[in-house]
Symmetry: C2
DNA sequence: TTACTATTTGACCAGATGGTTTAGTCATAC
DNA sequence: GTATGACTAAACCATCTGGTCAAATAGTAA
């Protein structure tokens, strides 16, 4: 129709994104994606050769949406407080817009470990699985404060794991928490909204000596 | 052969548990479950009518493994410190034994929200979706300390969400973290082992005024 | 217009999958 | 010995699913 080139491919990718996220890769059906894209099933294969290729494209896109900003913030020259606030803001904002993202990405990484290699490469830039470089700056900042006696000792991985856990888990477990605390959509949104300030306070407080 | 009644049914359930957890419900195949159970595909339908029923059974079993202990600890008369330590120990221990559990349960809850109702009922005992009762005791304990000025203000839901996030997320995101920090199996295990003490300290520290 | 390419479609296919059935084996109980 | 219930093996079925193809439909340059 009116859709030329990239228009259609993008439309398909968007539809695939939506369907894969809500059904999971194995549970997603090409037909449903086609319907959601307002397109023909054959057209999906015209642009992406197979379901697997399409899934890969969606995953890469989702991962690119999720991790590079994190690496950027952690590797920056901002202070620890700024980094914490930056990451909390980043994730609570992003995930509010697409709440299925964390669960989807984690599930994919569990079921397709081979994707992790490529993912890490695209994050570090280097083909090797070198990781420490990513958190070097952060580790140095922590070390500095610990030596100065203004922060409880904590390793960089522990720092990152804790922060990401606190940011992402509530979204991955959203149906559970919503049921447990009797939240509707608004209730959950309210919780997240408050969390933008509460979480920073909680996390920074945990670092005090 | 030598296996009577429950023996076999249990064997099938175990196999289904393993397969569903590592493939996800949609990705699991009845044939694979049969193979893993050392049984016939027809036998699966002999004990459980359909894949859906089998999946339901596995989920209920997984959930019963995951949540009731939590409710028990949180509702007990133990002090806040004891509760935190209890939950950390409980989850880091349990999840080390079956690392796919958190990801599986979260994924299921996202894809089959209708199961939550039944789950909550079995947790509270009541058919109604009443939640506050579960955390009443905890809320009172927190309130008490906040009034006494020995604890930063925090709501009971926030408390629970944070604690669960810190306990469960590392397992759900284990492939990611392992790749990011260059951990092999032993590296991850070591991290979790240290976490048993670190996490309690981290969490309690975050509650200080 | 014509010719050529990119895009789009509907019909179709082969294999996989959940599920059923049939026929029969093997203990154990009666 | 025979009836019963657990179990197996294999064939079978209806449906679903990913994937293909030839034909149709723009779109565009000559």
């Amino acid at each position: 129709m009116a859709s030329t080139d990239k228009q259609t491919e993008q439309r398909i990718l968007d539809a695939a994104h939506a369907v894969f996220l809500r059904r999971g890769t194995a549970g997603a059906r090409m037909q449903e994606i086609a319907d959601e894209a307002g397109a023909n099933k054959a057209l999906l294969h015209y642009y992406f050769r197979s379901k697997e290729k399409l899934a890969e494209a969606v995953f890469q896109r989702a991962a690119r949406n999720l991790f590079p900003p994190l690496v950027r913030v952690l590797g920056s020259d901002a202070s620890i407080e700024e980094k914490v606030r930056g990451i909390v803001d980043l994730y609570l904002e992003t995930m509010s817009a697409s709440p299925f993202l964390p669960g989807y990405v984690l599930s994919e990484l569990n079921h397709h470990p081979e994707r992790i290699t490529r993912l890490m490469e695209s994050l570090t830039g280097t083909p090797n699985g070198l990781s420490p470089r990513l958190f070097e700056r952060l580790a140095a900042q922590i070390d500095e404060r610990v030596r100065a006696g203004t922060m409880r000792p904590i390793t960089a991985p522990e720092f990152v794991v804790n922060l990401l856990s606190l940011c992402l888990f509530p979204f991955a477990a959203r149906p559970l928490f919503s049921a447990a605390f009797g939240w509707d959509q608004g209730g959950f949104d309210g919780f997240i909204e408050e969390r933008r300030t509460n979480l920073v306070a909680f996390f920074m407080s945990s670092l005090k000596v």
